[in-house]
Amino acid sequence: MSVHPDPESLALAALPAEPSDPGVAAHLAACAACRSHVDELARTVALAQDGVDGAGDLAGPPDRVWAGIAAELGAELQPVDDPPPPERSKARRRVLVAVAAAVVALAAGVGIGLGVGAVGGTPGAGPPATVVAQLQPIGPLDPAASGTLTATEQAGVRTMAVRLTGVPDTAGADYLEVWLMNGPGTEIVALGALTRDDTGYTGSFTVPSNLPMTQLDLVDVSAERYDGNPGHSGVSILRGTLA
């Protein structure tokens, strides 16, 4: 029996338009192993040709299917090792409301005004910003993606600005949202949604100066949908720890 043809010659022998190579054809007539391999490759071509007839079906299920999966799994959809993204449960939101209420009470008690949002809308005009967290991609996000969180403080108003670069359009997300949370994910505060611009995503948020930042030291960016649910989607795409 002749020497087995190289794998590329065998592949060509399975393709519909290739002219038959006499040397390969003679070998295939004599070698059952190579013949069987070429037959499998030829069947693969036939399957691909059949399969593309249904290629329209492969476009993917409607978005509501993922929503159904997330809803059915609910709190089960928690990571085991990483700090868990908080789930969308009502119980969790009650905790958050309680945290927020405690912050408000504390602020009122020490006489610090919380109407900071009204005067915090001019980021960039004040003192230099300090980078307080570097954000790294987690999950399936492009490893080239990155982000920074900077903070400025002026007249008791802390402003946090987020800038993300290298973040591709996130399939299945309508917008990105920034959160501060504690390690176990039991306490979480939404900073707000990010805006897309030419170079990535940006957002600037005022933060009550007495927010317990030492507890909420994890910065989380999540992919969100316009689904009427104000909670964290459970899909985190970047994270960093406050310096």
Binding site: V45, L58, I69
Partner: protein, 191 residues
């Protein structure tokens, strides 16, 4: 230029998703859904016929994938093959329950699926798996393979048309073809 890394990168990404899923990372479930949701849904749609059932089965497949992530054994097969296996069982359950439920079988019968509905042959699942993988090949490999499969071009004509060296075209054809073959050939080892 030959890029031997391209297709193995595809494998590496798949394996990384599988490992993160097995470790309980919920973003991996989303990644698996993004990559394989289309195939799972297409198989369910083809074998069950009704969009509602296909969506229900797709949801159940990924719910079960999350709850059964401890059974994902990469020694025995790929993430895609594991999900297709779950899909097959879900579809079989659904068809069995249709047969039990005469009222439903009647309704399906009126929709001309027969009673009981005849499942599409296994080759339909294989063809969808191959076509889905073709959609996910690296761009250049996928383009070369399509020209050979669907436009009946020889590797020399493809080289002329694309400007790629002959050796690159032959390498893309072999590696693309063998990867697609793996979509149906490997399943015997993973069932």
């Amino acid at each position: 230029m030959i890029d031997p890394g391209e297709l193995s990168d595809l494998d590496a990404a798949d394996r990384a998703t599988a490992e993160r899923l097995a470790a309980g990372d919920p973003t991996a479930l989303r990644a698996a859904f993004n990559r394989y949701g289309g195939l799972v849904h297409a198989i369910a749609l083809r074998r069950l016929g009704t969009p509602q059932d296909a969506e229900d089965v797709t949801q159940q497949v990924f719910v079960r994938a999350w709850r059964g992530r401890a059974t994902l054994d990469l020694q025995r097969g790929t993430l895609g093959a594991w999900l297709v296996g779950i899909t097959r069982r879900q579809i079989a359950d659904r068809l069995a329950s249709r047969r039990r439920d005469l009222e439903l079988a009647d309704r399906v019968g009126r929709m001309s699926f027969g009673s009981p509905p005849a499942p599409a042959p296994d080759s339909v699942v294989e063809a969808l798996a191959v076509a889905d993988e073709l959609n996910h090949l690296p761009d250049q490999v996928g383009k070369v393979v399509r020209l050979a499969f669907f436009d009946d071009l020889t590797h020399q004509q493809i080289a002329t048309l694309t400007g790629l060296p002959l050796g690159t075209v032959k390498s893309h054809l072999r590696r693309g073809l063998e990867r697609l073959r793996g979509q149906w050939r490997r399943k015997e080892g993973t069932r």
